[in-house]
């Protein structure tokens, strides 16, 4: 934990620079996950107080279920017992990441991006754009961004304020890479503030028809989906805490 003068100085700078803090429940959850000796009951209490976090944890704990009626893991307590602390870490990472993505659409594309259930979107088939950023340190994993070529083109055009027809493949790839940078930069800040220091690798963006997502040994996977018609975006986060 930093000394109090540092924390006060940071709060003053954050106010002056207009830096928004992560939601209290997410900051608290990240701090608990970062403490390797933390008891699960405390984590359960934080997650249960936030209906959004609880719903996401149960989705992560029931990866094959298409809706709640198919859940075999029904409570936050069970989910953490069965899947371990990595599950809570995914929630702590996914929230700032989702917030940054939604805010990017709002501020840079003037589009309202809504978070939806993965099953509500069309399945990605065949060749699509995939971007990935790896991170390593006290937590190791990857963030993947997947979308159709048409969605990638629409996003690049919106961010750059250009007509989609004017864009070449390099501009589309670079815009997708920057979108990834913005999302991961925001969640990295939240992890580092909680003591889970990690470094980001440069983004890799390209076309692929491979829909598999490698998961780090002992790690978890959360799938998130977003829509702002006609754009559809899939995010996958894989993570394993305490790698080093």
């Amino acid at each position: 934990m930093p000394a109090q003068p540092d924390l006060n100085q940071y709060r003053e700078l954050a106010r002056r620079y207009g830096i928004a803090a992560a939601p209290e429940s997410v900051s608290r959850l990240t701090q608990l996950v970062a403490r390797q000796d933390c008891c699960v009951d405390e984590i359960v209490r934080v997650i249960e107080k936030d209906p959004g976090l609880s719903a996401r944890l149960l989705r992560v704990a029931n990866p094959r279920a298409s809706d709640e009626s198919e859940y075999t893991v029904g409570t936050v307590d069970q989910a953490l017992m069965r899947n371990g602390i990595g599950c809570a870490l995914l929630l702590a990472m996914g929230t700032p990441l989702s917030m940054a993505l939604v805010k990017t659409f709002q501020t840079m594309l003037s589009l309202k991006l809504e978070s939806v259930d993965v099953h509500e979107l069309d399945t990605l088939e065949g060749e699509h754009m995939r971007g990935s950023i790896g991170f390593s340190g006290k937590v190791v994993g990857h963030v993947y961004l997947r979308m159709s070529s048409a969605s990638a083109k629409a996003i690049a055009a919106g961010i750059l304020g250009l007509d989609a027809a004017e864009l070449g493949p390099d501009e589309i790839r670079d815009a997708a890479g920057e979108l990834l940078n913005i999302m991961t930069g925001n969640f990295k800040s939240n992890l580092c503030d909680a003591g889970l220091d990690c470094k980001l690798e440069p983004p890799k963006v390209g076309m692929t028809d491979d829909l598999t997502t490698p998961v780090e040994p002992g790690g978890g996977l959360e799938r998130l989906a977003f829509r702002a018609d006609p754009i559809q975006i899939f995010i996958e986060v894989t993570a394993n805490p305490f790698f080093d």
């Binding site: 700078l13 954050a14 939240n190």
Partner: protein
């Protein structure tokens, strides 16, 4: 005289957005894709403002800022950090190095103009005369 502003970011997308934001103003925008290039452009062109990313290949923004502040010829140039990283340690370290302002990505073009306008004079270009 146009105001010289240097944008240092490895993302072409961000450099394009920064360029678009300053287009209505009498600004000469200089660009660099990493800290090493940024230092070279700064030494050659003596910009009045630098807009600097943190995470970049070759030389990152914190290293570039440190070197700028060590150089008597460049240390007075105001720097605005433009980055997605707003972690406590990052912000404290950068503030202590002597940054003028900090803008977290994603950002709106008018936020950048407002912060830049506090560091340098931004003159609007005259509206084009109808033919």
């Amino acid at each position: 005289m146009a105001t010289k502003i240097l944008s240092v970011d490895d993302s072409r997308t961000i450099r394009l957005i920064v360029g678009k934001a300053f287009r209505p103003y009498n600004v000469t925008l200089l660009e660099a894709a990493n800290g090493e290039e940024g230092l070279a452009v700064a030494a050659r062109e003596k910009p009045e403002l630098i807009i600097l990313d943190v995470t970049m290949p070759v030389m990152d923004g914190v290293t570039m800022l440190t070197k700028l502040k060590e150089d008597p010829a460049l240390k007075a140039i105001p720097v605005i950090m433009l980055t997605a990283e707003s972690g406590r340690d990052n912000v404290l370290q950068i503030a202590r190095l002597g940054v003028r302002d900090y803008l977290v990505k994603p950002f709106k073009e008018d936020q950048l103009i407002e912060k830049a306008g506090r560091c340098v004079t931004l003159e609007k270009k005259p509206a084009p005369t109808p033919a």
